[in-house]
Symmetry: C2
Subunit: 350 residues, 2 copies
């Protein structure tokens, strides 16, 4: 086990005062370039890593963290991200953290806009964002930038922003994986339906868009003969949704596979189950209980999962490392793309 160095050990090795080491570590006050260099050299040589929550780093400052996520219900994707957040906060205990959660409706542009506006009226040292809408997020990020408030993204990287860090899947690649999996089980000669949720004020989320690019790109490269038809469903209005799906399947009898780009594949799997459409293979995202039910019923062939808890956990860890030690790491951090089948679903929860 590594020996633990205290601030006074570092000071002795660098030939400076303990106060100077403390200032460098916490990025507070002025330190001469010479002293800074000496200290950094010692730190690098010792492979000195501060342990979050260890006695050496107990900190009297209070930090205000604002967390903005889509509204969610029990057991869904965003709840898992929130669990990861809580678990990290619990693990790295010795820090005074005041957390404020704000939620928006991810299918409603106007809800997102007003939540971001509310966020700007609050005081924050750091913001964690689970984004959905491109324009709104870019605008919000630029306002945070103007106020010198650093922010971290989970789930989706939004271009034209400068987050401190991002933790989430490589969206384009998840679409590639989805197409690869779907074509593995698609019967020859069949076509594909490409389902998207009805949303208010915007066509589709940044995440779904990137996934659909990946999806189409794989098909174009490997199965150019497969036709892809776009279709819509509405999670908030099942009756309307059923009508839309009835009409779609009446008009497109060649469909043998279906892809959903958000976490709502269960809307389709429940429809397929109700209508006994076992010949249509479905691939979706996220371990929402209803998706897992679809997987176990055989109406979903594969579920792609992107370790939402892990995303939330690592995001908080990066935020605390920055707040406490001004430490920054890699900006784009891609999480694993996990593939679930009926036979592995019960073992997935870690």
């Amino acid at each position: 086990m590594k020996k633990k160095y205290r601030i006074k050990d570092i000071a002795a090795l660098a030939g400076v005062s303990a106060g100077t080491v403390d200032r460098v570590i916490h990025n507070r006050g002025d330190v001469s370039a010479d002293s800074r260099q000496k200290i950094e050299k010692v730190l690098a040589e010792l492979d000195f890593t501060y342990r979050l929550g260890s006695p050496a780093v107990a900190d009297s400052r209070q930090f205000r963290l604002l967390i903005i996520l889509p509204e969610h219900s029990e057991g869904d994707y965003w709840e898992s991200i929130e669990k990861g957040i809580e678990s990290a906060v619990n693990d790295f205990g010795n820090i005074k953290l005041k957390m404020k959660f704000l939620y928006y409706n991810q299918f409603d542009l106007y809800s997102c806009r007003s939540t971001f506006n509310k966020a700007l009226s609050l005081k924050a040292d750091m913001v964690l964002i689970g984004p959905s809408f491109y324009d709104e997020t870019v605008l919000f990020a630029s306002q945070l930038f103007m106020r010198n408030i650093p922010y971290v993204f989970v789930d989706t990287f939004v271009n034209n922003t400068q987050p401190l860090a991002f933790f989430g899947p490589h969206s384009f690649q998840t679409g590639v994986v989805q197409a690869r999996l779907l074509t593995t089980v698609l019967e020859p000669g069949k076509d594909i339906a490409f389902f998207h949720s009805k949303r208010t004020g915007d066509e589709t989320s940044v995440q779904s868009l990137a996934r659909s690019y990946g999806f189409m790109s794989y098909l174009k490269d490997h199965f150019p003969q497969i036709n892809v038809f776009s279709a819509q469903f509405d999670d908030s209005d099942r009756k309307l949704s059923t009508g839309l799906l009835d009409q779609f399947f009446r008009e497109h009898t060649s469909i043998g596979g279906a892809a959903v780009f958000n976490t709502r594949a269960y809307v389709i799997s429940e429809y397929l189950k109700q209508h006994h459409l076992q010949h249509i293979k479905l691939v979706g995202y996220g371990t929402d209980k209803r998706n897992i039910d679809g997987l176990k019923d055989g109406y979903i062939s594969f579920i792609i999962s992107e370790r939402p808890e892990h995303q939330g956990y690592r995001a908080i860890k990066s935020i605390l490392e920055y707040l406490l030690y001004n430490k920054t790491g890699q900006v784009e951090n891609y999480t694993p793309i996990d593939i679930l089948i009926k036979e592995t679903a019960d073992f997935y929860a870690v």
Copy 2:
């Protein structure tokens, strides 16, 4: 964030002395049933969880931990388990831990036997075992039991033992998953080859045996018409191995799929690549670099991975919780069964 309670807070709430609380928490010395009950009630009410490595739990005792694993090379399955061990030791820093690693050849019964004998000559407070051989492990476990030395298994649960905990995959189910994946890509009318490594002194490992039961059980239930032929390879003697494989494929021309039950699928994928046998679909275990190469080359269709780092990490965490607080949790802890394809391999390393 939860308020943190110190020993003296607990003592005040329970109406006992701080020394009594300390004795209960560390399971040291005599405490009256009445005091114990009071303290445990307070702890339960506060949902008091000690944080490993937090100041409240810094401990002056020194613990000797013996770790017995199969020999391994860079980037293989057991190295990942060892990485998880190191990472946990690093995370839970404030503990005096003296670790001793012993290794045995997992393909040689006699090497395992002599390593276990050596282990019995050393002093240990706790033993972590990565088992391979059934009889030897049961015997070793019973000797540890006689000496009151608790042990934890990673990778494989060995029946007829009483470990403090086990962290690893559900081996039978991984075999089911392997058969499910292989039959997804197997061409109709083709048969399956079932490869096992040549070993010294024993037919096959506990783990491989359980996997092969799961594998056969799935085939029997879903594809009883598929013939399965058993074949052998030798990782330590490639020339011999090539001879064995040449003969096997000459004699069995109906083979369209292959399963390897240990982490050496690359021996087969490298053979298939060398002989341009692209029509044979292969499913194996473990993210050894050579397996990932096989996946990317297209000679391995799926790799099943069981989060070895996670196994090592959780095993150490459970050991430290036991040594420090006498805390025990669930005995059988099954890790996720991850499925890797060419398109997800690069995103898997967390």
